[in-house]
C-alpha cells in the first residue's frame, strides 16, 4: 500500500520537472595483519570497512540531501565515534534570491570560524554538523544575514546520530559596502564588515559550582582591499565558560586573527598573526579532544605534504592559549631571465612561530569567589616556544619533460606542550631535505621520485625521539587511467637497533573519469599521504587497503 502511494505521488514529479541529482560514494576496506615491530595489531574482525554515500537533490527552488554512512566496523585509526549503518545527514530546504532555508542537518561557518564553524572532514573522521534550522536572508545586494539553531553531532552509534547535550544558537551579519552602497561601487578601497553572536545552552547539574547555563561568544570582523594590498581580521570574545578543558575557571576567553598581504603577478607576500586565550567552546562542557567544538581554531602554519614533514611532527592549536605568527613569500622569476630560464623558476619562503601567552596574576587571588585566575591580552606573548617552522622550496623546470623541486624544512616543536611523541621530552628540532624529480617519458607515461631525509638534532650527544629517517618514493603513471607507486620510509637513526624499521608500501590505482580504485599493501605510518595524485589522511597499519570512490 505504501508503495502504491509512493508511485502515484512521484510519477508526476518525475514526469514534469527538471530534477538535478549530484553526490558521491566512498568506501575503504582494510584487511590488517599483526605487526609487533610497528605496534600494529590485527583487529578481531580482521576486515574493516567504512562507506558513505551523499545524494543531493535539487528541483527548482527546492532542495534535499541525504548521507547514508556505514562502519562495519570502522577502519583503523578512525575515531571511535563511528559505528553501524544509518542516516548521518538529511535535510530539506528552499532557496530563492531573498531567502535560503534549511531544516535538518547543515554545515556553516561565521567569518573565519573563531565563533562558529560546523564542518566535516570525512577522511579525518571529523563531523560536528548542526541539526536544526538555518535561515539565510539576502535583503539587498552585498548584505547577508544568517541565523542558525540546532544540536551538534557528537557521534554515530549503531547507525544513529548522537547529539551533544547543549543547544547552539547564532546570528551573523555581513555587509560588503562596495556592493551595498551604489556610490561606493567604483571606490578603490573595498570594505567588508561582519559581526557574529553565538550562544550555547546546557543545563547546570554541577553539585558544587553555579555554572553559566547560557554562554555567548561574539565579535566582529573586517576586510579591506586597496589595489594589491589586503588587510583582514576578526576578534571574538567568549563569556565565562567553566569546562573540563579550562579546569572550570570563570575567565572570559578571546581570540584574534589578522592577515596582511601584498600580491601582484609573480609575487605574493603574507604576514599573519593569531592570538588565542581560553577559547575551547563546546556544546557540552564535559567533553574534550575534537568533540562538539562550536568554533574552529586551526594552527597558523603551512600544511606540508611530504610524508616525513607532514606526519612526524605536526602541530595542533593549544585551545587554552597561544600566540602565533606566520610569514610567507612566493616569487616567480620570469621566463627568459637568467634565473627564470625558459620556463620560470619559483621560490617560496615560509616561517611560522607559536609562543606561550603571558598570564598576568598580580593582584588576582585565584581562590576567591570570582573564579578568575589570571588576566591576558591579545598578542601578549612570552619567550616560551611551542612551535617553529622555517621552510624554503624552489621549483625548477629544466625542459619540457624534466622538473625538480628542492625543499628544506627546519621544524622545532615543544613536545611537553604539543605532545607528539612518547619517546622524548622537551624541544625536538629537526631538519628535513627533499628532492623531488618529475620526468615525462612520453605523452602519457611519466615517472616521479622523492628522496627525503630527516635529521633530528641531538641533545648532549644523545639521539632525540626516534632519530633520523629517510624516505624514497617512486611513482609511475600512465595518463589518464593507471598509476603504480612504491614507497619506503626507513627509521635508520632510531636509538634502539630493533626499531630501525622499514615501512615499505606498494600502491596501484585505476581511474576512469569520476571513478577511482586503489589497492595498497604494506606498512603505513599515520599522516596525510599524497599518492597517485590524491591527498588523504591514512592511519597507521600493516596490511591491505582497498578503496573505491565515485562521483555522480
Amino acid at each position: 500500500m505504501k508503495y502504491f502511494f509512493f508511485t502515484i505521488f512521484f510519477s508526476p514529479v518525475i514526469l514534469f520537472s527538471q530534477a538535478n541529482i549530484t553526490g558521491n560514494i566512498e568506501s575503504t576496506f582494510q584487511f590488517l595483519n599483526n605487526d609487533s615491530i610497528i605496534g600494529a595489531t590485527q583487529p578481531d574482525q580482521k576486515g574493516l570497512i567504512n562507506s558513505y554515500m551523499n545524494v543531493f537533490y535539487t528541483q527548482g527552488k527546492f532542495k534535499a540531501g541525504l548521507r547514508v554512512e556505514s562502519y562495519l566496523p570502522r577502519i583503523q585509526g578512525y575515531p571511535n565515534r563511528f559505528d553501524g549503518t544509518g542516516i548521518g545527514m538529511r535535510y530539506v530546504g528552499y532557496a530563492n534570491d531573498l531567502v535560503d532555508v534549511t531544516l535538518g542537518t547543515f554545515y556553516e561557518q561565521f567569518g573565519s570560524g573563531l565563533a562558529l564553524r560546523a564542518y566535516e572532514d570525512r577522511a579525518l573522521g571529523y563531523d560536528n554538523l548542526l541539526d536544526g534550522m538555518r535561515l539565510i536572508v539576502r535583503p539587498k545586494r552585498g548584505v547577508v544575514l544568517k541565523g542558525v539553531y540546532g544540536y551538534q553531532r557528537l557521534s554515530f552509534q549503531q547507525g544513529k546520530l548522537i547529539y551533544g547535550e547543549g543547544i547552539v544558537r547564532g546570528v551573523d551579519g555581513e555587509i560588503n559596502l562596495n556592493e551595498a552602497v551604489k556610490k561606493l561601487e567604483d571606490f578603490p578601497l573595498t570594505m567588508v564588515f561582519g559581526t557574529s553572536f553565538v550562544s550555547k545552552y546546557q543545563v547546570d547539574n554541577d553539585p558544587d559550582l553555579i555554572l553559566p547555563k547560557n554562554v555567548g561568544a561574539y565579535g566582529a570582523r573586517a576586510k579591506f582591499r586597496y589595489k594589491n594590498v589586503t588587510l583582514d581580521g576578526e576578534y571574538i570574545i567568549k563569556e565565562q565558560d567553566p569546562s573540563n578543558d579550562n579546569s572550570k575557571i570563570y575567565n572570559y576567553g578571546h581570540a584574534s586573527v589578522i592577515n596582511l598581504s601584498y600580491t601582484k603577478k609573480g609575487l605574493g607576500i603574507l604576514l599573519s598573526g593569531k592570538s588565542v586565550d581560553n577559547m575551547s567552546y563546546r556544546s557540552d562542557r564535559s567533553k574534550d579532544l575534537q568533540d562538539v567544538l562550536i568554533n574552529y581554531l586551526p594552527s597558523l602554519n603551512k600544511t606540508h605534504t611530504y610524508n616525513l614533514v607532514s606526519t612526524l611532527y605536526p602541530y595542533a592549536t593549544q585551545l587554552l592559549g597561544e600566540v602565533a605568527f606566520q610569514g610567507d613569500i612566493l616569487y616567480t622569476f620570469k621566463k627568459g631571465t637568467k634565473i627564470g630560464g625558459k620556463y620560470g623558476t619559483s621560490i617560496n619562503f615560509n616561517v611560522s612561530t607559536t609562543y606561550q601567552p603571558i598570564k598576568h596574576t598580580s593582584g588576582i587571588n585565584p581562590l576567591d569567589s570570582s573564579g578568575v585566575t589570571y588576566t591576558s591580552r591579545p598578542f601578549d606573548k612570552s619567550d616560551s616556544l611551542y612551535w617553529r617552522d622555517i621552510n624554503v622550496n624552489v621549483t625548477k623546470k629544466i625542459n619540457k619533460n624534466l622538473s625538480f623541486i628542492f625543499s628544506y624544512f627546519n621544524i622545532t616543536i615543544n613536545n611537553d606542550v604539543a605532545k607528539i611523541s612518547n619517546d622524548s621530552k622537551g624541544i625536538i628540532s629537526s631538519h628535513v631535505g627533499v628532492i623531488e624529480t618529475a620526468y615525462r617519458i612520453n605523452k602519457t607515461n611519466s615517472i616521479r621520485t622523492e628522496l627525503q631525509g630527516m635529521f633530528v638534532e641531538k641533545e648532549n650527544g644523545l639521539i632525540k625521539d626516534k632519530g633520523n629517517w629517510a624516505t624514497i618514493l617512486v611513482e609511475y603513471s600512465i595518463s589518464p587511467s593507471y598509476f603504480f607507486s612504491f614507497m619506503d620510509q626507513y627509521n635508520y637513526g632510531n636509538p634502539l637497533e630493533s626499531k630501525r624499521t622499514h615501512y615499505p608500501i606498494i600502491t596501484c590505482g585505476y581511474i576512469k573519469d569520476a571513478t577511482r580504485f586503489t589497492v595498497s599493501y604494506g606498512r603505513q605510518r599515520a599522516g596525510l599521504f599524497c599518492v597517485g595524485g590524491v591527498c588523504r589522511f591514512v592511519p597507521a597499519n600493516n596490511g591491505l587497503t582497498f578503496s573505491f570512490t565515485q562521483s555522480f
Binding site: 500500500m1 502504491f4 508511485t7 502515484i8 512521484f10 510519477s11 518525475i14 514526469l15 527538471q18 530534477a19 538535478n20 541529482i21 549530484t22 553526490g23 558521491n24 566512498e26 543531493f56 532557496a95 554545515y107 556553516e108 564553524r117 556592493e179 573595498t190 567588508v192 589586503t230 586573527v257 592577515n259 598581504s261 600580491t263 603577478k265 609573480g266 605574493g268 603574507l270 599573519s272 574552529y296 586551526p298 603551512k302 605534504t305 610567507d328 613569500i329 612566493l330 616567480t332 617560496n348 611519466s446 600512465i478 595518463s479 589518464p480 598509476f483 581511474i511 573519469d513 569520476a514 571513478t515 577511482r516 599524497c530 597517485g532 595524485g533 590524491v534 591527498c535 570512490t549 562521483s551
Partner: protein, 172 residues
C-alpha cells in the same frame, strides 16, 4: 481488491519506468552545475551557476597543500592562453583550503601568475554539492551548465585528455 491493487501497482511501475526512459532521452535528470554562493579570492561574491561566462568552463578543485593539484594547474597555466584562444574555455580553480591555509591562496595564485578565476570554498559547500571525494577533481561544464566530463586524479598528460574533451564541446 488486492488483485486490482497489484495490477495498478504493476501498471504504474511500468508507466513510471517508461516515463523515466523517456526522460533519460530528454535528459530531464542531468548533472547540472549546483548553485552555491562563494567568494572569489578578492572577496567578491559569485554564484557558481551564474558566472556569466560564454564558452565551456573547467572547474578544478584544488588546495595549497595538494601537490598534484598544483602540478595540474601549473601545467595547464602554461597552455592556458592557447586553450582560451582556440576554444573560449575558462578555468575556475576552486580552492578548498579552510581558514588554516586560506590566506595562502592569493599568495600562491598571484605568486605563480595564474590567469584563472579563483573561488574559495573554505567550508566545503561547493565541494560537497559537486560530489568531490578528494582533490584534485576536475569537471568540464558545457554552455548549458551541464557537467559533461570529470576526472578525479592528476598524472602528467591528463591535461591533454581534458583538452580533447573541451575541443569536442567547441566543435558542437
Amino acid at each position: 481488491m488486492k488483485i486490482y491493487l497489484s495490477f495498478l501497482i504493476i501498471f504504474l511501475s511500468f508507466s513510471n519506468y517508461f516515463a523515466q526512459n523517456e526522460i533519460e532521452n530528454n535528459e530531464a535528470i542531468t548533472k547540472k552545475l549546483p548553485s552555491v554562493k562563494l567568494k572569489d579570492y578578492k572577496g567578491k561574491v559569485v554564484n557558481t551557476a551564474e558566472l556569466g561566462l560564454k564558452g565551456p568552463i573547467v572547474f578544478s578543485f584544488w588546495a595549497t597543500w595538494c601537490a598534484p593539484c598544483k602540478k595540474e594547474l601549473n601545467a595547464i597555466n602554461d597552455l592556458y592562453s592557447d586553450w582560451q584562444a582556440e576554444t573560449g574555455v575558462t578555468l575556475v580553480a576552486v580552492s578548498i583550503d579552510d581558514e588554516k591555509t586560506k590566506s595562502q591562496v592569493a599568495i600562491y595564485v598571484d605568486g605563480k601568475a595564474w590567469e584563472y578565476i579563483v573561488l574559495l570554498d573554505p567550508n566545503g559547500d561547493f565541494k560537497r554539492a559537486m560530489g568531490v571525494n578528494n582533490v584534485p577533481h576536475t569537471f568540464l561544464v558545457d554552455t548549458d551548465g551541464t557537467i559533461v566530463y570529470s576526472h578525479n586524479n592528476y598524472a602528467p598528460g591528463d591535461e591533454e585528455k581534458l583538452y580533447e574533451e573541451i575541443k569536442k564541446l567547441s566543435l558542437k
